[in-house]
Amino acid sequence: MKRYDLIIVGAGPSGLCAAIEAAKRGLNTVVFDENEKPGGQLFKQIHKFFGSKEHRAKVRGFVIGRQLLDEADRAGVKVVLNATVIGLYQDKEIVVKIGDGIEHYKGDAIIIATGAAENMVTFPGWTLPGVIGAGAAQTMMNLHGVLPGKKVLMLGSGNVGLVVSFQLMQCGCEVTALVDAAPRVGGYGVHAAKIARTGVPFYLSHTIVRAEGEECVTGVVIAEIDSHFQFIPGTEKHFDVDTICLAVGLSPMSQLLKMAGCKMEDNPKRGGQVPVCDEYGRTSLPGVFVAGDVSGIEEASSAMIEGKMAGIAAAEYLGYIEEEELKKELVSLEDALNGLRQGMFAPENRGKRIETTEEGIAVSENLLEHGFITEEEIERFPGITHKAGIHPVMECTQNIPCNPCQDACPKGCISIGDKITSLPVVVDGSQCINCGMCVASCSGQAIFLVEEDCGDGTALVTLPYEFLPLPEDGTKGKGLGRNGEPVCDAQVVSVKNNLAYDKTPLLTIKVPKEYAMKARFFKAL
């Protein structure tokens, strides 16, 4: 039987990172993936990632996927695609379906990096065609170029629901409403805000009563729920939609570990049934490691670091490196991982209600309850300053681990400081040169360049605009407020799409000066 030093199941972010680290240290490594393309979910992620440089922040997911594949190739990793691992047996033996047959392989070490699958919720009509998972919608759009539907209701306001809603709009769907049974938005406020300002209504404390349609979805009814998750009569709302997208969480795909006799636990904080493992992915079975979502649902950025840890731990287990080296390497990776696990959305804060930022500022309740920050709330955050001339306005109001903006500004106008979760502040005395790099670098699309008074009664607002078609110079339309309501007339005065912006075009609109701090999106007439 063919034997490898290390067999990795799953060529997603964690599996590939594990493979790269292991192969670099001399392990004969193979990665099996059931899909025809490697990269797991990365190639569906067309948005820019959060984090810092070491987490590949502001790089789009699919680009990270390409980078990882190149690195894996250089390190000598063998990636076998269309290869479904159908079983993990005793003695670290796997059976892989390849083509029209099966292969048996043994690994001296095995890393399971099989990721997660989407959860479902039930309501009358949930089995109608047209009810799909948000991840499925993303696969259709971003991998296969297929429109999931024309009018979509999204259930779930976590990052997946928010990110996919935005992508649905980018590919031309109308997102009719964003609904969540929770009383507050679950994902990053900046993701919510960029959807809300296009006019998508948020219905928190609401859920789906039923999907309508005989053969397929033709509509949906939602209603408000009380604190016991019971519908409140009389609050029903109907929408004509052809698609209902469910973004209600993920469950680890840990079946291979369970069938191999790995000690498992049911851990709601990790998303369901997960292997019992230490922080480096070592399971109860000697030589069997885990990395990524299969051991607990997190972001791709964390999965990559976990993958590295497991790859290095496997190298040590097989004697390719000394324990000293393992310890040294893990310390820096742990720092990187801890960096990501900070702030308001840290795993330890899950389910907690946070009322003030690390800076002691009251959070925007409206952002949590309706998806946008009110004009009254926005002024209290440090990213918002008023001065003459062009200057950045950073509507970044939650402590999340992300700092590309401070590196993006060539003039040092923006500072986050050493603590990656701190809110960005405008550096006193700095001079903005209107280059737009900060706007394009912000993964949350929360930075605007504003000239509050052009001297002729107008103001200029530069905003990120990742939609097609791009309006042309001179296009007239409406400036939309943070809630997506038209607030004023607006005219496009400049459209920039520099290579350095990495496909985040910047639109500059001219608005009456009293709307300088109100208009945050543009809609052509």
């Binding site: 079983g87 047996y89 006799g261």
Partner: protein, 376 residues
């Protein structure tokens, strides 16, 4: 509810659940203890569902014939659960001269014991089941054999007995039995709980050996791991139960449409496990190759699950049933050797009769514990 009952049944498989049911039906007060977390968790849920008489040892044949005549046809109605019982015959298939000899021998013995079974040739086999390949040259054919769903039947007995007041406990692993004043009375569990009864039925599969050992009884049986698999649902093809001369392959199409097949790789008896019955990587592919030789049409059917289970293999291939003279109060019901499903209702009913009346309709004497002797 207390820890005392007239009868304590150790083991919540089909034997334990069915005995509990037939005891409750006769008005007895029963506690049934299952060591694992689930009722019907051993061979009861892992077998191929055969309800057959052909191919059986003459010592146990009367018992299974009794069940097929008197119990199986009415079981779904009686338990209020669909046991999916089909009485459409059993084909025990042969491909070689040697197979034919084995089958002829089995058939002659069964006929002597009063069973309607006969040898047929390959063409006749294919008239009964046109999907079988030309490789099949002969078979024994028993039209009164059949199959049922082991999962719903086992849990059906549990459900019906529970409804009649049997006190069931799972996760209650028995570690010891103890006599009081010369009579078996106490059942001690790993949890520390102690149960007391006038009669104690030991129906814990291969684990019965260790439990019986605590009162000085040694049943010559060993666990042996077997494997099976199931396909996705297919259009209805045939209703017979199938087996082979060497008993290396067996199965049927279920009501659901899926095919359940058991089989072997040749490594059986010498496999290892991790504390739970686990599949061997080599076995399912081997079973698939075996199935396709008999049923080329099933090549495209998708396998959705494979599993393994232990059988309690008794040294002479038939169960150990009934009273044990040395230990008054003990009733043994174990050692079914991998074919305990079809015989379960009959065995359970007769043991319940033995416990409640002291006698049985079917003579169980050939299956008693005191049958084990040295060969010379």
């Amino acid at each position: 509810m207390g820890n005392n009952a007239e009868i304590i049944v150790i083991g919540g498989g089909i034997i334990g659940c069915a005995i509990s049911y037939y005891l409750a039906k006769r008005g007895a007060d029963v506690i049934c203890l299952e060591g694992s977390d689930h009722f019907g968790n051993g061979g009861s849920s892992r077998n191929g569902g055969g309800v057959r008489q052909s191919g059986r040892d003459p010592r146990e044949l009367p018992l299974v014939m009794y069940g097929i005549r008197n119990l199986w046809p009415f079981l779904s109605e009686e338990l209020d659960v669909d046991c999916e019982y089909h009485q459409d015959g059993n084909l025990r298939l042969g491909k070689t001269k040697k197979h034919e000899e084995i089958l002829t021998g089995l058939t002659e013995r069964a006929v002597k014991a009063g069973l309607d079974v006969k040898m047929i040739d390959g063409d006749e086999v294919r008239r009964i089941n046109p999907y079988l390949s030309e490789e099949v040259t002969c078979a024994s054919w028993c039209p009164t054999d059949g199959h049922a769903n082991p999962l719903t039947t086992t849990l059906g007995f549990y459900k019906a007995a529970r409804k009649m007041g049997v006190h069931f406990l799972s996760g209650e692993k028995v570690i010891e039995m103890r006599k009081v004043k010369g009579v078996l009375r106490k059942v001690i569990c790993a949890s520390g709980n102690i149960y007391e009864g006038e009669t104690i039925v030991l129906a814990a599969g291969y684990e019965s050996r260790a439990i019986a050992g605590t009162v000085g009884i040694d049943i010559p049986m060993q666990p042996a791991m077997l494997e099976a698999l199931v396909t996705e649902a297919e259009p209805p093809m045939f209703d017979q139960m199938l087996g082979t001369a060497e008993a290396d392959f067996y199965g049927h199409q279920t009501k659901h449409g899926s095919f359940v097949f058991g089989g072997s790789s040749g490594l059986e008896g010498f496999t290892k496990d991790n504390g739970t019955p686990v599949c061997y990587a080599k076995t399912a592919p081997c079973i698939c190759r075996g199935i396709m030789k008999y049923f080329p049409d099933l090549a495209e059917a998708k396998i959705v699950r494979t599993w393994a289970g232990w059988m309690d293999r008794c040294v002479d291939g038939v169960p150990v049933l009934g009273k044990v003279e040395e230990v008054p109060g003990l009733i043994l019901a174990c050692g079914f050797t991998g074919h305990g499903f079809g015989i379960a209702p009959g065995a359970a009913d007769q043991l319940a009769e033995l416990i409640t009346t002291g006698s049985t309709q079917v003579d169980l004497s050939a299956l008693r514990y005191d049958r084990f002797r040295a060969k010379i």
